[in-house]
C-alpha cells in the first residue's frame, strides 16, 4: 500500500455466516442454501402466519457457541434473544429475532500472520440471529418478488473491533475466520454462495488524531474476498482525499459495484433506524451450564492455527504448502490418511508394494523379491528423509492433481473414488521411478474416474516405466549408433543435441523409459 501521509485506516468487519444446520433457526423448515425454486423451504412459521411461534434450533446454538469458542470468545452463562423491528417484505414477522445485549459470545480474538508478522484482531461479539428472505425486482414490471427460502436461516454474526488497517489484513483475517468456522463445522462459509457475507466498516483517522473517527462507511454486497480487498482499497484513498480537503465523509452504507470496481452510495444512515429492541418473549433465556460449555470445548476439533504448526513440525512441509493444505479442512484429513498409509508401509518394513510380474497381487510380498524394488535397498537411516520426500509428494499431488479434479467435479476429498491407500501406492510408484510423472497423471485420472489400484492401472495401460539399466543401455547404444551427426554436434558443444538424443531413446521405448537413467547413460557414453 502506498504511503498514506500519516492517515490511518480504521477498519472493522461484520461477518455473517450461515450455520450448517438441517433446519432453520426457529422452525423445522429446511435450511438449504442455494435452493433454486423460490418459496419451497418454508412453513407457517417462516411465513409468519398468525399464531406461529419460534422454537430454538439447539444445533444452531451449539455450532454458534463452538465457533465462538474457536474465536477465543467468552461464552456467558446466560444469553437471550431480542426482537429487532423493521418493515420489509423479506422479513415476514416485521421483526428479526436477533440478540441485542446478551450475545452468545464476546471478547475474543483471532491471530493472523501478515508479512511474517503476527497481528491480533479482536472479536467484539458473535451473536445468533435469523436471516431475512430475498427480494427481487424484475425490470419493467410493476411488482417485486419475495423468496422466503432464506428467511429464518440460522446466522452467526461476528463483529470485530476496528483493528484492521489494510485490505490485506482484512483478506487474511477473513480467510482465517472462514477456515475456523469450517474447521468447527459451523458453516460452509462460502462467500460466492452467500453462506459467508462480509460488511467492512471503513474510516480513516487523520494524522495526529487518536480514537475512532466520527464517521464510518459501511460497504455491503461483497461476495468474494477479492471484492472485500478491492472495496477497502477503493474507500481508503477516497476518504483520505476528502479528509485532505477538510471534508468528512458521510456516514453511509455503500454497495460494492463489481462492474465498475467502485463503491456506490446505497442509503444514508443519518436517519438512524429505531429497531425498538426488546427481549423475545416467545423464547426462554438460554442457560449455558459450566458442564455444557466444557463438553463443547472438549469437542472442538483441531483449529487451523494448530494444524499449521503441527503440519510444519510433523511433516517438514514448507509454509506455502502447509498454508494451501490448511485452507481445505477435508483435504487435510485426506492428506493425513494418505500419510498414515505411507507410515504404515514404512513401519511394516515390508517394503515391497509392487513385485514385477505379480503386480499388486496380495501375497506377493515375498522378501526375496525386495531387491527388484528400488525401496528394497532402503536402509533404516534413510527412512526419515524418504518419509519427508514421500510426504512432500503426497502434499503436492493433493494440492495439484487431486484438488483440481475435486474442484472440477465439485467433490469433497472423501467422496472421491481414490482411496488414501491407493493414493499412497501411486505416490510410491512415482517415487520409486516405476512410472513417469506424465504416466502418473494418466493413472491418477483413471483412479479418479473409476477407482482401482494404481499398479493394476499401470499394467492395464502399459505405463510401467523401464528403469532397467541394461535394457535402456541397449537402446541408448542403438540410438547413438544411428545418429552420428547429433553425437558430433553435442560433442562440439551443442547442448540441444543431447535433448534430441534423449527424445530418440524415449521414442524408441514408447515413452516408458526412466528419463533419469537415460540421462545418466547418455552422459556416461558421450563423455
Amino acid at each position: 500500500m502506498k504511503d498514506l501521509n500519516g492517515y490511518k485506516p480504521v477498519i472493522g468487519l461484520e461477518i455473517h455466516i450461515q450455520l450448517a444446520t438441517q433446519s432453520k433457526m426457529f422452525s423445522s423448515a429446511a435450511n438449504k442454501p442455494g435452493t433454486k425454486n423460490p418459496n419451497v423451504n418454508i412453513d407457517e412459521v417462516v411465513t409468519a402466519e398468525p399464531g406461529t411461534l419460534p422454537v430454538l434450533n439447539q444445533e444452531a446454538v451449539r455450532l454458534g457457541v463452538m465457533a465462538g469458542m474457536a474465536l477465543n470468545c467468552e461464552i456467558p452463562e446466560f444469553s437471550k434473544f431480542d426482537r429487532k423491528h423493521y418493515f420489509y417484505p423479506d422479513l415476514p414477522k416485521g421483526y428479526q429475532i436477533s440478540q441485542y445485549d446478551e450475545p452468545i459470545a464476546q471478547n475474543g480474538y483471532v491471530d493472523i500472520e501478515v508479512n511474517g508478522q503476527s497481528k491480533r484482531i479482536r472479536i467484539t461479539r458473535a451473536h445468533l440471529e435469523e436471516d431475512a428472505g430475498k427480494n427481487t425486482h424484475p425490470s419493467g414490471l410493476p411488482y417485486s418478488l419475495v423468496d422466503l427460502n432464506r428467511a429464518g436461516a440460522p446466522l452467526l454474526e461476528i463483529v470485530t473491533e476496528p483493528d484492521i488497517e489494510t485490505a490485506e489484513e482484512a483478506r487474511i483475517f477473513l480467510q482465517e475466520l472462514r477456515n475456523i468456522v469450517r474447521y468447527v463445522g459451523a458453516s460452509e462459509a462460502e462467500m460466492s454462495t452467500g453462506t459467508m457475507r462480509c460488511e467492512p466498516n471503513i474510516s480513516v483517522r487523520k494524522p495526529g488524531e487518536e480514537g475512532l473517527p466520527n464517521y464510518k462507511v459501511e460497504v455491503k454486497n461483497i461476495n468474494s474476498f477479492k471484492f472485500a480487498e478491492a472495496a477497502i482499497n477503493y474507500e481508503i484513498p477516497r476518504q483520505i482525499e476528502m479528509l485532505e480537503k477538510g471534508e468528512t465523509p458521510k456516514q453511509v452504507t455503500m454497495g460494492w459495484d463489481e462492474k465498475n470496481n467502485q463503491t456506490v452510495e446505497q442509503r444514508s444512515k443519518e436517519e438512524a433506524n429505531d429497531y425498538r429492541y426488546f427481549p423475545e418473549p416467545d423464547l426462554p433465556v438460554m442457560h449455558f451450564s459450566q458442564e455444557w460449555r466444557e463438553d463443547i470445548k472438549q469437542s472442538l476439533p483441531e483449529l487451523p492455527m494448530h494444524k499449521r504448526k503441527r503440519f510444519a513440525e510433523e511433516f517438514g512441509l514448507g509454509d506455502d504448502v502447509v498454508e494451501n493444505l490448511v485452507q481445505w479442512k477435508e483435504l487435510t484429513f485426506y492428506f493425513e490418511n494418505v500419510v498414515s498409509e505411507i507410515d504404515a508401509w514404512l513401519k511394516s518394513g515390508d517394503n515391497v508394494i509392487l513385485n514385477e510380474g505379480e503386480a499388486g497381487v496380495e501375497g506377493s510380498r515375498d522378501p526375496s523379491s525386495q531387491a527388484s524394488h528400488p525401496f528394497g535397498h532402503r536402509q533404516d537411516d534413510t527412512k526419515g528423509s524418504d518419509r519427508t520426500k514421500l510426504i512432500k509428494l503426497v502434499a503436492n499431488w493433493c494440492l495439484q492433481e487431486f484438488s483440481a479434479k475435486l474442484n472440477s467435479e465439485g467433490l469433497l476429498p472423501e467422496e472421491a473414488k481414490v482411496t488414501p491407500e491407493n493414493f499412497a501406492e501411486l505416490v510410491m510408484l512415482i517415487d520409486s521411478g516405476k512410472i513417469s510423472g506424465s504416466a502418473a497423471k494418466e493413472v491418477f485420472a483413471v483412479m479418479f474416474d473409476k477407482g482401482g489400484e494404481p499398479d493394476h492401472i499401470v499394467e492395464d495401460l502399459g505405463l510401467a516405466q523401464v528403469s532397467d539399466t541394461a535394457e535402456i543401455e541397449s537402446v541408448v547404444d542403438k540410438i547413438l549408433a544411428g545418429n552420428p551427426k547429433a553425437v558430433e554436434d553435442y560433442q562440439a558443444g551443442q547442448q540441444k543435441s543431447f535433448g534430441f538424443l534423449v527424445g530418440q531413446v524415449m521414442k524408441e521405448m514408447q515413452g516408458k523409459a526412466n528419463p533419469g537413467v537415460i540421462n545418466e547413460l547418455l552422459k556416461k557414453k558421450l563423455g
Binding site: A48, P50, G51, P54, H85, P89, G94, R276, Y277, D282
Partner: protein
C-alpha cells in the same frame, strides 16, 4: 331433550350408551346457533359442513370398541383467534377478514385427535383487544342475560355461546382477564390456566408473555375435564412447561377442610357494586362453611398491575401485529402505489382503533430512550408482583376475591372510554402478570345501577403457579353446594 342442560360428562354417557349420536347432538346445537346467533352475534363463522363430517367420524369412532376420549363427539366452539386449517380465522378484524389458515393451532389439533366437533368460531374483541366485545369488526356480541348489555371480553362470543346454551363449551383466551371477566359477566365458569400450561401455538398472539389459552363451560368439573384435554408441553411453544398434566377431574377433592383461603383486601376496591361485594363475600363464607380457613392477606402491589399491563401489553402487541403488513396474506390496500403505501394503507384500513392505539403506545414505549424508563421498569415491577404472589402462596393455598367489581355494563359503555378495559380487568390483571391459574365461577346476581334485570356476579379463585388442581378443587367444592352455575338466562 334439552342437551344444553347436560354437562359434558352426561353427554359423554349418552354418546357412549348410544342414546344419542354425535351427529344428532351436533345438529341440535347447530340449530340452536342458527336460532339464537342472529340476536347474540356470538359466532363469526359457523362450520356446519365440517362439524357434521367430524360428527360422523366421531360416531364411527365411538362405534369401535374403546372408541372414546372425554370429548369425542361433543360439540364445542373456538374463539376466532385459534387457527383452524381450511377455516376462516379472522381475529374479528378486517385485516384478517378473509384469512383462511393453512394450519391448526396445537389446541385445535389436540381436540381433533379427540374427535371433538367444532361448531364454529366465536366473536371477540378485535385481536382480543378489549373487554367488552365491542371492538369486533363483525359487531358486538350481546349478553344473553340482557341483550342491551355487553358479555364482557375479549372472549365475548365464547362466553355468550356457553351462557346461551348454544355451545356446550368453548375455547377462550386470556391476556389480562379475557376469560374471567366475560365468564363473570355472563354467569358461567371460566378457567385461565397457568402461563405455559396450554400451548399458545396457533393462536394469534396479543401479548406473548401474558397470553393463556383456556376455556369457558357450565361448571368447574367440566373445565377440569377440558383442562386435561388441552394442557401439556408443546414442542412448538417454547414457553410451555414440561410439568405433567394432572388427572384434574379424577383427582378433584372437594373437601376443603384445612385449606387456607386468602382474602386479598386490595381486591375489594372502593366504588365496587355493593351487591357484587355482598355476593362474593357470601361465596367466601360458603367456602368457610365447607371447612376452609379464611385468611385476610394483603397484596399491596396490586395497584400497579394495570399500570404495568398498560406498558407491557401494548409493547408486545405492537410487535406481534407487525406481521400484518398486507404482503403475504390478509387485507392489502388496493389504493397502495408503492411499498410504503402497502404498509401504511393496509394497516390503516385493516386495523381497528384499539389495535392502532396499542400499536402507537407500544411503539412509543419501546423506542430508543424510552425502553428503560417504561418497558424495563414495568418488567421490574411485574417481578415484584410475582414475588408478592409467591410469598402469599407460602401462607395460603388459594386466593378468593371478586372477578369483576361490577356487573355487565350496557353496550356502548366502553366505546368512548379507552380506559374501560383497564378498570374492568383490574382484578384479573395481577394474576395474568404473574402467570397464575385462576377461575371465575358464578356466585350470585346483582341489579345494575342502570337497569332492572339481575346480572351475574363472579367469584375469582387464584392459585399458585401450576396449581390448576387446587383451583379446580375449590371451584368444584363451591359448585357442589351452590346452584348459581346451573341458572341460565331466559330466552
Amino acid at each position: 331433550m334439552q342437551f344444553e342442560k347436560l354437562s359434558l360428562l352426561e353427554l359423554r354417557q349418552k354418546l357412549d350408551n348410544k342414546e344419542i349420536s354425535s351427529v344428532e347432538l351436533t345438529k341440535y346445537f347447530l340449530d340452536r346457533i342458527k336460532a339464537r346467533n342472529p340476536e347474540l352475534n356470538a359466532f363469526i363463522t359457523i362450520t356446519e359442513d365440517q362439524a357434521l363430517k367430524q360428527a360422523e367420524e366421531a360416531d364411527a369412532f365411538i362405534a369401535e370398541p374403546g372408541g372414546n376420549f372425554a370429548l369425542t363427539g361433543i360439540p364445542f366452539a373456538a374463539k376466532d383467534l385459534f387457527n383452524t386449517k381450511g377455516i376462516k380465522t379472522t381475529a374479528a378484524s378486517k385485516i384478517l377478514e378473509n384469512y383462511i389458515s393453512p394450519y391448526d393451532a396445537t389446541v385445535i389439533s389436540k381436540l381433533k385427535e379427540q374427535k371433538a366437533v367444532l361448531l364454529g368460531k366465536t366473536n371477540l374483541d378485535q385481536f382480543a383487544h378489549g373487554s367488552s366485545g365491542e371492538t369486533s369488526y363483525f359487531g358486538a356480541t350481546k349478553n344473553p342475560w340482557d341483550k342491551e348489555r355487553m358479555p364482557g371480553g375479549s372472549s365475548s362470543g365464547s362466553a355468550a355461546a356457553v351462557a346461551a346454551g348454544i355451545s356446550p363449551w368453548a375455547l377462550a383466551t386470556e391476556t389480562g382477564g379475557s376469560i374471567r371477566q366475560p365468564a363473570s359477566l355472563t354467569g358461567i365458569s371460566g378457567w385461565k390456566p397457568t402461563y405455559g400450561r396450554v400451548s399458545r401455538y396457533g393462536v394469534a398472539a396479543m401479548a406473548s408473555s401474558l397470553d393463556s389459552m383456556g376455556a369457558v363451560a357450565n361448571s368447574v368439573k367440566e373445565l377440569a375435564l377440558i383442562a386435561e384435554a388441552i394442557s401439556g408441553h408443546d414442542p412448538k411453544d417454547a414457553t410451555t412447561g414440561s410439568q405433567e398434566v394432572g388427572e384434574y377431574l379424577k383427582n378433584l377433592n372437594t373437601d376443603l377442610k384445612g385449606l387456607k383461603v386468602g382474602i386479598p383486601k386490595e381486591y375489594f376496591i372502593d366504588g365496587m357494586h355493593p351487591e357484587v361485594k355482598a355476593s362474593v363475600e357470601a361465596a367466601i363464607k360458603e367456602l368457610e362453611k365447607q371447612g376452609a380457613e379464611l385468611v385476610e392477606v394483603s397484596l399491596p402491589n396490586t395497584k400497579y398491575g394495570s399500570l404495568v399491563y398498560a406498558i407491557v401489553c401494548p409493547s408486545e402487541v405492537s410487535s406481534n401485529l407487525a406481521r400484518y403488513d398486507g404482503i403475504r396474506y390478509g387485507h392489502s390496500s388496493s389504493e397502495a402505489q408503492n411499498l410504503e403505501e402497502v404498509y401504511e394503507l393496509s394497516r390503516a384500513e385493516g386495523f381497528g382503533d384499539e389495535a392502532k392505539r396499542r400499536i402507537m403506545t407500544g411503539t412509543y414505549v419501546l423506542s430508543a430512550g424510552y425502553y428503560d424508563a417504561y418497558y424495563k421498569k414495568a418488567q421490574r415491577v411485574r417481578r415484584l408482583i410475582l414475588d408478592e404472589f409467591e410469598t402469599i402462596f407460602k401462607q395460603v393455598d388459594v386466593l378468593a376475591c371478586p372477578s369483576v367489581p361490577n356487573v355487565a355494563p350496557k353496550l356502548g359503555h366502553a366505546a368512548n372510554d379507552p380506559l374501560f378495559g383497564y378498570i374492568a380487568d383490574q382484578l384479573n390483571i395481577p394474576a395474568s402478570l404473574a402467570g397464575l391459574p385462576a377461575l371465575s365461577v358464578p356466585c350470585g346476581f346483582a341489579k345494575p345501577e342502570d337497569g332492572q334485570t339481575d346480572m351475574p356476579v363472579g367469584l375469582q379463585i387464584i392459585g399458585p403457579q401450576w396449581g390448576e388442581q387446587v383451583v379446580f378443587n375449590v371451584g368444584a367444592a363451591y359448585q357442589e353446594v351452590t346452584d348459581f352455575h346451573t341458572r341460565k338466562p331466559q330466552k
